[in-house]
Symmetry: C2
Subunit: 318 residues, 2 copies
């Protein structure tokens, strides 16, 4: 099993999973563990549209083992929780933008359902749905898929957001994300909208052409979405990825993540659901690297203005 | 000029520098702006050993321009400060491990001197010396060089460390980094030592084979080092890079950063100087990507144990 270690200097936990070093890395369909029917395949046999199963090399959860001897003076704990794989299609070459609209809706419904299942696990402090798309975003198996982590702790970034939301509510008696969404609607950073969902480049993003999708209704989690809101989100998700792929005429490597209420820690009503895309190309063929300022100092540098990026994304022909 | 934007959701500033999109990207010596004597070279003419000059595409400082119209509701500010380039050698193919020992010592002395100069600038809140080595660490010009930022604000990671150091001192009346160094000396994560400097893999690192170099004496900044301590650091720096290059038999892409006291914010005595290496290879030929958990949730995953990585680094033949 993985274990958690506390870093006293940053005040953050990291997860150590030595077993994951042996996980497969395969871009092509040959030997792909996510193509159904192949030898050693982890995917269920067809016929299915979206498949979910436990990650065979989990960062969280998995079989328990005693903690290694770490010596005194530091804190460590078993990394309970969950790690699931979500296959978007049985086919190796079908990406999110290629799916029929109904299948994207089904995917969001699967996220919603799995969130409810994982939240019922007392070992889970935060359900995090995400996709690493493309090798440059850390995708190790080329078959289009997302992942769901049931973190055993609220991860650092969400913990900080929770504090900011709490502080804003105390000061202003209102939701910070509601205020941001209202401010962005119809402004120079808006990219797209669908029903109550707004897609925009945030005022101070960390990644070039970062896009957030935020519902108008103050709702904290996928489980709180109605069917119409799910359908709207599915359409907007798909259009957003098509915009990214059209931006530089090549599949955009990105991390997509669903920020929903870390349920045990955040009281009902405090959180506001959003989906965020972190794209890794800063120009055609040029990757955004997390260099010294970002990775060592935590200070993010952008070399394009968010307003220009929003305009470029709006201008993509769909 | 670049400008700063405040992200209300994370509580962190990001820096937007649209002019930097036009900066050169050249791995080879041909057309290298850092090779002296070439057409359009930014480097001073030889003869020199280490050269320092202003970054022509600075993230901080540079000519002032009015802020773009950003609309109400958000905070922005001009990104004052400084951004300097430090060339390790006039030669395009001489990396830190190839330099004569005396030249590495000179490099550390240059860091110390520039830190004192930049700290005297009232626009500078934190002097940050770093190197992005290799394309995968964000190095855009192949000529071996480091950089020095004079940040106009204390960057997020150092701000958090400052709080942790303050808290530890309040609770225990002592320095957290002194305690960590004492704990690591002679332990399973020690990699090397030179004089009072200890090189070790931290208990809970964020990068595989991350190494910290920490002096035994409680000193907060480069300017506080004696000549002997500088010479020891230079030797240990060079050996550490040689260990990295030997680890997988290939030049290791890394970010190296000097964490010194953010002078206006940190009272004398609170900070403890260290140099940290963030290497980007997690196995031979395999990059550590900052995927969904790291880049979106801020939760770092390691697939090798720090104790194993320390052993592998110790075992490298120098």
């Amino acid at each position: 099993m993985s274990h958690l270690r506390f870093d006293p200097l940053s005040g953050e936990w990291v997860t150590v999973s030595p077993r994951r070093l042996g996980r497969p890395v395969t871009a092509s369909a040959e030997g792909c563990p996510f193509c159904p029917g192949g030898e050693g395949s982890e995917a269920p046999d067809p016929d299915w549209d979206v498949a979910v199963f436990d990650n065979r090399f989990p960062s969280y959860g998995g079989p328990g083992e005693p903690l290694p001897g770490l010596g005194p003076g530091y804190a460590a704990a078993p990394a309970g929780g969950r790690a699931e794989i979500v296959l978007y299609s049985p086919r190796h070459d079908v990406h999110l933008p290629d799916l029929p609209e109904g299948k994207v809706r089904l995917l969001v419904e699967v996220w919603r359902h799995r969130t409810e299942v994982l939240e019922a696990d007392p070992a889970v402090a935060c359900v995090f749905v995400f996709e690493n798309r493309g090798r440059d975003a850390g995708q190790t198996i080329g078959h289009p898929h997302g992942q769901i982590y049931g973190y055993p702790l609220v991860p650092p970034r969400l913990a900080r957001e929770l504090e900011r939301l709490r502080e804003h509510r105390l000061r202003h008696g209102a939701c910070l994300v509601c205020a941001i969404r209202a401010h962005e609607a119809g402004g120079p950073r808006q990219v797209d909208r669908e029903g109550g969902w707004l897609a925009f480049v945030p005022f101070a993003p960390r990644f070039p052409s970062e896009v957030h999708l935020v519902p108008e209704r103050h709702v904290g989690e996928l489980a709180g979405l109605g069917d119409e809101e799910v359908a709207d989100l599915a359409r907007l998700l798909q259009r957003t990825v098509r915009r990214y792929d059209g931006l530089y005429g090549a599949p955009m490597p990105y991390v997509m993540a669903v920020y929903q209420r870390p349920r045990p820690a955040a009281p009902e009503g405090l959180w506001h659901l959003r989906v965020a895309f972190h794209p890794f190309l800063r120009a055609p063929g040029r990757l955004k690297y997390l260099a010294g300022s970002e990775s060592a100092a935590g200070a993010f540098l952008l070399d394009a203005s968010p307003e220009d990026m929003a305009q470029a994304l709006r201008a993509v022909r769909l």
